[in-house]
Amino acid sequence: MVVAGTSQLRRRLGFFGHWLALALYVLAALFPLFWLVKIAVTPTDLLFGEGIRLWPSSTTLGNFATVLRATDFPWYFLNSVIVSLCTAAAVTVVASLSGYALSRFAFRWKNAVAFFLLLTQIFPLVMLIAPIYRLMTPLGLVDSLMGLILVYTAYNTPFATFLMQSFFEGIPKGLEEAAMIDGCTRFQALWRVILPLTLPGMGATLGFVFTAAWSELLFALMLISTETRMTFPVGLLTFVSKFSVDWGQMTAAAVLALIPACAFFAVIQRYLVQGLTAGAVKG
């Protein structure tokens, strides 16, 4: 009886400890984002008076309205959407082809290609910023969204290749072999039989690349200078350094930048494990 009692107590304690530890992680994950939203909805006159209260005594959506109407943020938002969507679409197409090649063909140098793609993943991209700027200037790709899309497409393709490869591995090879026996070429078999089956995988790839392109800062800072061509990270950072006292507007803009990221996170959440282990280093 006594033994059963202590083991039950231990289980209760274990349950409580598990629950408490998880609650701490949940709190730590949410608190910074909560605070961001809190500053964004606090009226400016209350911000300094009420200091670090957890929730202001009155809230406003005025900061969001100002950001959307009176600043260049709609431009930044639009540019980021264009760049991220085009990058995601281009990468998904290119990486589907290369991922298919790595998944379906046995050929000489295959391991070398895979190793090379892995190597690009740990390569310090920051060192390419200056040469890329220099090379793109005479081509008219500096200060253009096209230039950014090209750069992002190239740098996201290796990781997306591994991701697509892992999705192709999940589809039986017999399927396109059957289609090819029925007279399809390999490309037709890929296009008509295999790709429709990898649509969820392609969606996940699209989401991962969109998130990565949406977050990129350093190349965008270097390559873009015109206000109306800035992507969101550049625009927000420029705004912060220019109007570093307008807390409400800065945080309202930051909350707006968070929305697409969270939306795509919801889409790709199921594939996080595959995504993060593809190439093993995707941040």
Binding site: L33, L97, M127, R134, L272, A280
Partner: protein
Amino acid sequence: MAGRALRLARQAPAGRRSFRSIAEPWTYLSPTLVLIALLMLVPLIVGIGFAFQNVQILNPFKRGFVGLAHFQAIANDPIFWLALVNTLWWTFASLILQFLLGLGLALLLWREFKGKRLVQAIVFLPWAVPSFLSGLTFAWLFNPVVGPFPHWLHALGLLASPDNILADPALAMWGPITANVWWGIPFFAITILAALQSIPNEMYEAAAIDGAGMLARFRHVTLAYLVPTIAITLLLRTIWIANFGDLVVVMTGGGPANQTQILPSYIFTMAFRKLDFGYASALSMVLLALLFLYAILILEMRRRLRSAF
């Protein structure tokens, strides 16, 4: 291009089948390889060239080959040495904290409980927050005007007065490290959780039959399975964090007085603010060489450890 190559391949007579089967995988790989060649390899070669030249966009007349002058300047550049020490500090502090907290989270999630899906979605959410936003948010949290952190740290007796640690040369590095840890925990938690879930249940049953206690089971089954995954993840992640300059650029710009300057942020500042591409490229070569040395060192250590057991 690809379409034409495919059409040609299709029309090829039976005798040239071997060429076709050799060319086919490369046709599918070609867009990827061309992109990487043009936007990574070519710039890399150009950058290596820059490292031995004067390339200052603000000073177009001061150009030409300078040999090893940049590297001599680096050897005598106190900011470089400071940034090197800071990089080590930044990398290993972030890595160890991310890893330990990520491991803890993975172990907590490695069992079924009510509401697990929701909890998982919330604790992994920081991963989806763009890194620049994570940096800005923490910069604001550390700001005594709008953020609570300085007040809390002061109340806990960790700070003498509620000031911004990002402006304090001795403490500033903790700002970007905190943001990096918050942002990077999900990555480790997810990869470790995936490894945990791949451990076959029979292993635990077998260990229990052999009379292994909870601790012994954790050590000999869980850890034994995790170590290979953890080793490769840590190696790759170290390099990734050492290259990751965004948070420093966003939160402190390397300041105050270069106390948070790390090599990637120093390279970026040199290229972006000073527009000195030659010196930035020389610094990049040094960073690349150091990462290469690190990788070789780790691989060698692994080889020795293997032969030791």
